[in-house]
């Protein structure tokens, strides 16, 4: 650990000890006790049904523990009774804001076991849709961030511009939120005519949106004072907890599965940058996401120009039986690393699917991270970690 990490770690430690001592002292002198505050399950800051049990001393958190499970749908069990095509529609609903991105690693894992590869055109379109769902997901985060910190306008701007992306996804796939468009061996259908031009126009709007959010929120001194130095995650801790995505990159780890994994996708055909930030605080996490949205629009723009002609479906049997074996594929989803570990027994459906969702790991750091912070910072930290309940509970 570097020097700054240690200092910040100490800060949290000291706050923790101080709050403990204050608690004890007050108990003796005034016969008061700390307060247990239940944040959630229904609370505006948890966007979903996460409950955080926080032990407070004044406004300082002595310890906090997230309690999840209010949205547990048992997807790992459900996949065991479904066939492969049926699973894609299920996993759509894990991270419902970036749903197309959830299908891709599952399909890739199944394709890996079947040893088929989607045709180049399908790979391109997949990548474009993947990035579009990232934009749809992260743009909402950028707006929601404002709401969590008390600015009401950004979220409406985010909803406004996300709508364009959702319309694109809908006109290509038929589903706004749950596309179910990915198939083993390719895609369900080709793009409708005129889609590429529309997408280009929307990407321009989205870049405008990013600038707007940067002016409205990121450049705002109040926003910066609320997020800078709050919830610092040092590099080592981030890795140990398995944080991924922007949360990990914000801690200075140069890690992006889009670049680092050799997947049959088209990312390596575009020119883009992986942003990292050395600070590891809430501001860094939010800022990385803003930059990533910009990069995504760039990726989409470049790939739109180079979609190869050809079929979008490889030759696969009509009734899909995946050969026996085990495969793991993970991709860099909007929330972080999302992977599927598929165990196949040569059946119509998988034998066991382990769904590694990003938010589960990302949120598991909160008991460590929330010690010693103030109540308003709980909201900041949760917002900047960015989780989606479906992605935690699966």
């Amino acid at each position: 650990m570097s020097l700054t990490d240690r200092v910040l770690g100490d800060r949290q430690q000291l706050a923790y000890i101080a709050s403990q001592a204050a608690d004890a002292r007050l108990n003796v002198e005034l016969e008061t006790e700390g307060m247990t505050l239940n944040i959630g399950p229904q609370h505006p800051a948890t966007h979903g049904t996460l409950r955080i049990i926080a032990r407070l001393d004044g406004e300082q958190v002595v310890w906090a523990e997230p309690a999840c499970g209010y949205m547990h749908r048992g997807y790992e069990k459900l996949t065991e009774v479904r066939t492969y095509p049926q699973v894609t529609t299920l996993v759509n609903r894990i991270d419902w804001l970036g749903s197309f991105a959830n299908e891709v690693p599952f399909i890739l894992a199944a394709e890996k076991l079947m040893e088929v590869e989607a045709p180049p055109r399908a790979q391109h379109i997949r990548t474009i849709l993947f990035e579009l769902s990232r934009i749809a997901n992260v743009s909402l985060f950028l707006g929601d961030l404002g709401v969590q910190l008390g600015a009401i306008t950004p979220v409406f701007l985010a909803f406004r511009d996300r709508e364009y992306v959702l319309n694109l996804i809908e006109s290509a796939t038929g589903g706004r939120f749950h596309p179910n468009f990915d198939r083993i061996g390719g895609l369900k259908d080709d793009l409708p005519a005129g889609w590429i031009d529309e997408t280009r126009a929307v990407m321009k709007k989205l870049r405008g949106f990013c600038d707007q959010i940067e002016d409205l929120l990121f450049g705002n001194e109040i926003f910066q004072s609320r997020t800078r130095g709050i919830g610092v995650i040092p590099r080592e801790v981030a890795l140990q907890y398995g944080l991924s995505g922007a949360n990990l990159r914000a801690s200075g780890v140069d890690w992006d599965l889009r670049r680092d994994h050799q997947l049959p996708m088209a990312w390596n055909q575009a020119d883009w940058k992986v942003w990292t930030h050395p600070d590891g605080d809430s501001f860094a996490r939010c800022w990385i996401r803003l930059q990533e949205t910009r990069e995504s629009t760039k990726i989409v723009d470049q790939l739109l120009g180079s979609i190869p002609a050809g079929p979008v479906m490889a030759k696969v049997p009509k009734i899909i039986k995946v050969p026996e074996g085990e495969a793991w594929v993970s991709t860099e989803n909007p929330l972080g690393e999302m992977g599927y570990y598929i165990v196949s027994r040569g059946d119509l459906g998988p034998f066991r699917v382990k769904i590694r969702s990003a938010s589960f790991n990302n949120i598991s750091i909160t008991p460590w991270l929330l010690r010693g912070v103030y109540v308003p910072d709980i909201v900041t930290i949760l917002a900047s970690l960015y989780f989606i309940l479906g992605d935690i509970d699966r």
Binding site: R82, T83, P85, Q86, T88, T89, L90, N92, R93, R121, T153, L157, R160, E163, N167, E170, S171, A172, T173, G174, G175, H178, N180, K188, D189, D190, L191, P192, A193, G194, W195, I196, Q212, D215, L216, L217, F218, G219, N220, E221, I222, F223, Q224, I307, P308, A309, G310, P311, V312, M313
Partner: protein
């Protein structure tokens, strides 16, 4: 140029949006009065073309939610060619889709080998009573009118696909 403080820039963004909305109109649609047309591929509701259905049960079996209920009986139909044997056909007694369960994945439409199921972008069929979301074959057939033509494909698409 000196750096404009972020606080001022933020005010500029909101004021700019204010003027944009006032001059160019808002981004919202006043729903019951005006409506957006959903894209052609939009998965709104499933329409049933009864004549094409052979009650092969494929859709019902591939439905992940088990929300399609089919009952049929066999019947003799007049032969297709002159002098042929009378054909034995499956006649639909019941074809229900429970939209309270359906998750709009579209697998049934995809697996249907006889083009009996179609997606329609229609979306206004909410019901005050959840039981009414079970659409029977008459209701499903009525949706057929709203089924649009499949859209043209983007340049470079493989023309062989249906």
């Amino acid at each position: 140029m000196p750096k404009v403080p972020g606080l001022v820039k933020g005010l500029g963004v909101t004021l700019g949006t204010l003027f944009n909305t006032a001059t160019k109109g808002s981004n919202t649609v006043q729903y019951p009065h005006e409506k957006e047309t959903p894209p052609i591929r939009s998965r709104g509701v499933i329409a049933l073309h009864q004549d094409n259905c052979t009650s092969c049960m494929l859709c019902s079996r591939s439905c992940p939610d088990w929300c399609i209920y089919i009952e049929a009986h066999k019947e003799l139909a007049p032969p297709r060619r002159e002098g042929g044997k009378p054909r034995q056909v499956n006649l639909l007694d019941r074809f229900d889709i429970d939209y309270a369960l359906c998750m709009y994945c579209g697998i049934c439409v995809e697996v249907c080998p006889f083009d009996a199921l179609f997606w329609s972008p229609e979306y206004e069929y909410s019901e005050p009573n959840i039981a009414d979301l079970l659409h029977d074959k008459t209701k499903l057939s009525e949706w057929m009118e709203t089924v649009p033509e499949a859209p043209a494909l983007e340049a470079g698409a493989d023309k062989k696909k249906k």
